[in-house]
């Protein structure tokens, strides 16, 4: 029982960065932009979040800074893919190479080569700041969480409402489905695409910053560990809907939680085999969905205004 409860608790926590990243991807793809560069955005977000949190002593400011730098870097992606019509996949890859290199560089410059591991205080949980201590499962599940967890789940609810109930959400979706039709109805296609890049960059930056302000108390190169790509899988698995994406993220979060718990009682099996679980689960899940194609129709295609 203890084991199950612990896994549930840590699933919720492990799912949080994935939710931010998967929502980032969702907002991007709903505007017709496939973004495989989230891994890179998250890595720079994670570094900047870490640095700002270290300098100011406020993890919250760290998260904000992560969002800001995510937006900044993603504007490169926006300009290249929306304005220059570069291939989105290729440019996502460029971001995946550029952003981590930038993160590593800033880290080296700031701390000097061969420095010791620097640690930073993590964000308080709600019960922590309220001064509540309890071993009750529900109390821990609902209150022993950082504000970022509430933000993530709140954003999921917001996203569901936004895309299904609001006019602006409907227009947004139309851009990803059929930009030319959207344009004839007076929807500013280019504007929506840029807005999508701002949202995507911010969320991906927050997802990265979460890792260094709420999860681990230090930054190491490669700490995003494929979450940017797992988030991509979560969007496909979640059929491009807010609720589906949440479930997919919880599932992948569960896999992550499971592997950590299993490592503890490893029974002589090399721990790396457990670490493979989230990655193997992603492959298995994707393979099981099969051929069925869905998702925004114009995703991945450039939008040229004066086409001839």
């Amino acid at each position: 029982m203890e084991f199950v409860m612990n896994i549930i608790l840590s699933s919720v926590r492990m799912a949080t960065p994935l939710i931010f990243l998967a929502l980032a991807e969702l907002y991007s793809q709903r505007a017709g932009l496939v973004h495989i560069g989230l891994e890179g955005l998250a890595s720079i977000g994670s570094l900047v979040g870490f640095l700002v949190s270290l300098i100011t002593g406020s993890p919250m400011l760290g998260v904000l800074a992560g969002a800001a730098v995510g937006i900044l870097v993603n504007m490169i992606f926006a300009y290249a893919t929306v304005t220059l019509c570069a291939e989105q996949i290729v440019y996502g890859m460029a971001i995946n190479i550029f952003a981590p290199a930038l993160a590593a560089f800033i880290y080296r410059v700031y701390f000097g080569a061969g420095s010791e591991l620097v640690q930073v205080g993590l964000m308080n949980t709600l019960s922590g700041s309220l001064g509540i201590t309890s071993d009750n499962f529900l109390v821990r599940l609902l209150l022993d969480q950082t504000p970022m967890v509430y933000l993530a789940y709140g954003l999921v609810i917001f996203t569901v409402i936004y895309f299904n109930r609001t006019k602006s959400g409907l227009n947004y979706k139309a851009v990803g489905e059929y930009p030319k039709a959207a344009a004839t109805l007076g929807i500013n296609v280019i504007g929506v695409k840029y807005a999508a890049c701002v949202i995507c960059g911010a969320l991906a930056g927050i997802g990265g910053a979460y890792l260094t302000t709420c999860y681990a108390n230090t930054y190491v190169d490669g700490n995003v560990a494929g979450r940017g790509f797992i988030a991509l899988a979560a969007v496909i698995f979640g059929r491009w809907s807010g609720a589906g994406v949440l479930l997919a993220c919880l599932f992948f979060g569960f896999c992550d939680a499971l592997q950590i718990r299993l490592q503890v009682g490893s029974f002589g099996v090399p721990y790396q085999f457990f670490q493979m679980i989230p990655y193997v689960a992603t492959v298995v899940v994707l393979a099981s969905i099969g051929m069925k194609k869905a998702g925004p129709k114009s995703s991945g295609k450039p939008y040229l205004k004066e086409e001839r």
């Binding site: 006019k167 409907l170 489905e177 039709a181 109805l185």
Partner: protein, 502 residues
């Protein structure tokens, strides 16, 4: 009648090419004004200028006597200009309702007030006799219904001027009648309609005035009452319509391909086949007539091995086809001019030369050592020979195929598909988007192949083309064969009825 729209000296240039040059056009309130012209005459470009998708290079536009600048589609909507595009601008993943309210600026508030919007839409629909089902996804409704959604969409945005771009292209005769009723209702209510078409009969039926465009310029504007079909046709084409007809063959040779009761996705009316039996003999052209999307694409892909039928049998030169693969059919000497030349026919990023030899690089003529050494010189000289023979106009055979004009792209495909003297040629919309010269060239080439003993299956939505070259005419409707007619003195009335499913 008052004037609603006036365009003065409007030009639109792309690079060095004038798509529109010095256009003057005036549309009155409550009239149906037809823009008549061939493909590429500049009709669509002009309309895209009017709805703010393109900015005119020169010229002025007046609405109700006031000069306006239409710099975006949003601006056009605000000015009361709405367009129903030939390829519908409907988001397939959404419902009819969602498509209608998309981009709505008339209402306040963040959320969608479904009840209020529904009421408004249904009122409008009633007023103009537009029968729509609001909660069905676009993918589930027929083409005619989709068109009504498009019209409703423009009306919902308060359009006073509706532009209908080739609205009858995808409709059956019955649906066309329904559309005309709606158009009359619209003009009765004081709306103006710009009707774009190249179908003479419909133009004469619905128009009040007709403006003829040719090569991007206005030829003239005429009142319906003072003109007739022959005059319009002559003005549109710029010369007399010569009834040049090919000699029709009445006695075909041995069957090349025979289909018996072929089924494919039977339930689908628009993308399936049901019990299709058909024979193409040597030395004849069998024309499949019918409105687009009645199973023609599927038929073409079955007789070229791309799709495998779900029921029935196909005989190729007398023996049953066991496996359906494109390569198997190519080995049986079947050639294919596919419906979408850019997507299915050409490798756009490869050169003209490479596209001409695309299927043949394994042959000893173009490679040695079992395909492990390409004879580049032989390929090049062959390509030059083909360029000459098929009159392919390109800067060099090294030019990328995607940079060629549609007609020259089609010639590249013809060179590849016909040079091997095929036993069966499957040609789907072979002249779509081509100018008159190129069309004539394609027709001559097909007739030439026929006279050498090739069986030709021609699938085309262009009825005139079918009449022009077919030796036998087969009509398809909703995946079924409605009748077979002789190509010599074809009974046009009967065929038209069959195309409408009767």
């Amino acid at each position: 009648m008052d004037e609603l729209l006036r365009m003065e000296h409007v030009s639109k240039r792309f690079g060095d090419f004038y798509a529109n040059r010095d256009i003057n056009l005036s549309v009155r309130k409550g009239e149906v004004h037809t823009l008549l012209g061939e493909n590429g005459a500049g009709k669509s470009t002009l309309m895209n200028v009017l709805i703010g998708l393109y900015q005119p290079t020169e010229g002025k536009i007046f609405l109700n006597g006031k000069e306006v600048r239409i710099d975006s589609p949003a601006q056009a909507v605000k000015l009361g200009i709405g367009m129903v595009h030939q390829h519908f601008m409907l988001v397939e993943a959404m419902t009819v309702f969602e498509n209608i309210i998309l981009g709505d600026r008339n209402t306040r508030g963040i959320f969608i007030d479904r009840e209020a919007r529904r009421k408004e839409i249904l009122e409008l629909a009633e007023r103009y006799g537009l029968d729509v089902e609001l909660d069905r996804p676009i993918t589930e409704i027929a083409v005619g219904a989709q068109q009504r959604v498009e019209i409703l969409k423009t009306l919902y945005r308060g359009a006073e001027l509706l532009i209908l771009d080739e609205p009858t292209a995808a409709l059956t005769d019955i649906e066309v009648e329904g559309l005309f009723k709606i158009i009359r209702k619209l003009t009765e209510e004081g709306k103006s309609v710009i009707f774009i078409s190249h179908k003479m009969r419909e133009v004469l039926q619905i128009s009040d005035r007709i403006t003829i465009l040719r090569s991007g310029e206005v030829v003239t504007t005429l009142d319906r009452s003072e003109t007739d079909g022959q005059e319009l046709a002559n003005l549109m084409i710029g010369r007399e319509l010569s009834p040049s007809h090919y000699e029709k063959v009445e006695e075909p040779g041995d069957p090349v391909i025979q289909l018996r009761n072929v089924d494919y996705h039977k339930a689908s009316k628009h993308a399936g086949l049901s019990g299709v039996s058909l024979t193409v003999g040597r030395g004849e052209i069998v024309g499949i007539a019918g409105v687009d999307g009645n199973g023609q694409s599927q038929l073409a892909q079955i007789v070229t091995g791309v799709l495998t039928p779900e029921g029935g049998e196909v005989d190729m030169k007398g023996s049953k086809v066991a496996q359906f693969t494109p390569n198997g059919f190519i080995l049986e000497n079947v050639s294919h001019i596919p419906e979408d030349r850019n997507k299915m026919g050409l490798i756009g990023n490869m050169s003209v030369k490479d596209n001409i030899v695309l299927k043949a690089t394994d042959s000893p003529e173009f490679s040695s050592a079992g395909g492990y050494f390409l004879k580049k010189k032989a390929i090049r000289s062959y390509a030059l020979q083909m360029q000459e023979k098929y009159d392919i106009r390109c800067t060099s055979v090294e030019q990328e195929a995607r940079n060629l004009s549609g007609g020259n792209q089609q010639k590249v495909i013809l060179a590849r598909e016909l040079e091997g003297e095929p036993d069966l040629l499957v040609a789907v919309h072979p002249t779509r988007g081509l100018d008159i010269g190129a069309t004539r060239f394609v027709h001559d080439t097909m007739i030439g192949a026929r006279d050498k003993g090739c069986g030709v299956l021609l699938i085309s939505a262009d009825f005139d083309e079918i009449l022009e070259v077919s030796d036998r005419i087969v009509v398809m409707f909703e995946g079924q064969i409605m009748g077979v007619f002789s190509g010599k003195n074809p009974p046009i009335e009967e065929i038209s009825l069959a195309m409408a499913g009767k």
